[in-house]
Amino acid sequence: MIRVRGLNKRFGRLQVLRDLDLEIEPSRVTAILGPNGAGKTTLIKSILGLVKPDAGEIRVGGVRVNGDGAYRRDIGYMPQIPRYPENLTVEEILHMIQDLRGQFDDLDTELVDAFDLGPQLRKPFKHLSGGTRQRVSAVIAFLFRPRILFLDEPTAGLDPVASSALKDKILRERAAGRTIVLTSHVMSEVEELADMVVYILDGTVQFEESVTGLLERTGEPNLERAMARMMLRVVA
């Protein structure tokens, strides 16, 4: 579904991505893990075309990412920090994105109900709490039923109710055959949601394995301990 070959990106003196190769399989949940500054967000932003790589090739569904934005029609994106025009209401923001995409039908508004966003719809964006902004951002990511979803720390800042609702949604969409890529620092969450784990350190993929494979191979009872063991091995 997504193929990355020899991706390099440097910001000033900092080499953020280093000959990164990655293959993301369709119809699965892939978790991209790694410490802060490892290059996770830069990788996702490169795939979205927000960051222009210095070298390397990215293909999404066979289409090479080269500046033409049409492939993003298939993609939903939930960023770490969502922000929209301050004075527009949630309703207007949702309408704006539909307007820009030219798609007003066949929308997935399941999350509006699951998050109980009804009472917030007429509030201007600047009056929304961090958690509500995050929920609006999740609604927009799923709204157009994209085949591929990028969720950057999707549950950070959500209360347990919203967080559970979002996780249920992710699992339902996975069952419906969508390709989902997420980042998270919470290992129990990754264990619950992900099929595959990709571990990035210093801008390259250190290992790429299924969650079950990882548990079996390390013999640890949960993903957190399995990851800890693998990370120590990488350092050594």
């Binding site: 990106k9 910001f11 932003k45 979205l48 075309g49 927000l50 960051v51 222009k52 500046g67 033409d68 934005g69 049409a70 492939y71 993003r72 029609r73 993609i75 994106y77 960023p79 920090i81 969502p82 922000r83 929209y84 025009p85 301050e86 004075n87 527009l88 207007e92 704006m96 994105i97 307007d99 820009l100 995409r101 201007p124 951002s137 927009i140």
Partner: protein
């Protein structure tokens, strides 16, 4: 098509923002006050000129840069949609320059209307003032784009924006004067003309003064312009140079936007 849609939502957002309203009210109050101090239409235009040449570059470049830094995440979100960068740039640019330019134009025009000075002797100078103000707005919004795209550090960006404004709107004249003073023995007409062409604020001033026939206020550069080109050709050249000032930063800003890592 998408350009217009982006602009539409920008305008909707701007219409509810207090900055744009305050900006319009500022020009309204200034123009009204000048009328009340007993000015006729033409004299009000002349007095407004100095306000326009100082305030428009400042607000356009500072509010422009502030807007772009504040919209960083919003721009990222729009770019994650199937939208081309060029389209988004055009939409954002129009959505930023239009509210600023219209706030200025409306704020100045309304007092002229209700003081009954809109038509008559002041019409041409007023339209020229409005035109120059709009051009300067667009030019300094383009400069704001270049600055905000060049550095991700908001404080540094705003500092550069202020420095550019200070240089073009105030320090530049001092430098020109210093050059004239230092090299007074040499023929300076041509170098001074070139120096004025390099500063959009100077160009705006010369363009207005050539038409207002206010030679006393014209200063050295304006006088040289008139002697060298006459009022008619001088106006053509300054206008052409202003449009070049519009086109070049716009193109540079668009190129920077196309290459930017968000």
């Amino acid at each position: 098509m998408n350009t217009l849609k982006i602009t539409k939502y920008q305008l909707k957002d701007a219409a509810r923002s207090k900055w744009v309203v305050l900006y319009a009210l500022f020009f309204l109050a200034a123009t009204d006050a000048l009328f009340r101090f007993g000015g006729t239409g033409e004299r009000v235009v002349l007095s407004l000129m100095n306000v326009v040449l100082l305030v428009i570059p400042l607000t356009s470049i500072v509010l422009g840069a502030m807007f772009l830094y504040g919209s960083r995440e919003y721009i990222e979100l729009l770019l994650s949609q199937p939208i081309e960068r060029r389209t988004l740039f055009h939409g954002l640019f129009a959505g930023l320059a239009l509210p600023l330019a219209s706030a200025f134009a409306v704020g100045v025009a309304i007092p002229f209307l209700y003081h009954g000075a809109f038509s008559g002797a002041a019409t041409t100078p007023l339209l020229l003032l409005l035109g120059t103000g709009v051009l300067l707005t667009v030019i300094f919004v383009a400069l704001a784009f270049i600055i905000a795209l060049a550095t991700d550090d908001r404080i540094k960006g705003l500092g550069i924006a202020l420095a550019v404004w200070l240089f073009l709107a105030t320090a530049y004249d001092g430098i020109v004067l210093a050059i004239i003073h230092l090299f007074g023995e040499y023929p300076l007409q041509k170098p001074v003309i070139v120096l004025s062409l390099l500063n959009p604020v100077d160009l705006g001033r010369i363009l207005l003064l050539l038409q207002l026939e206010a030679s006393a206020l014209m200063g050295f550069t304006g006088a040289v312009f008139r002697r060298f080109f006459g009022s008619g050709l001088g106006a053509v050249i300054t206008t052409a140079a202003l449009f070049a000032w519009l086109a070049i930063p716009f193109a540079l800003g668009r190129r920077a936007f196309a290459r930017k890592n968000f």
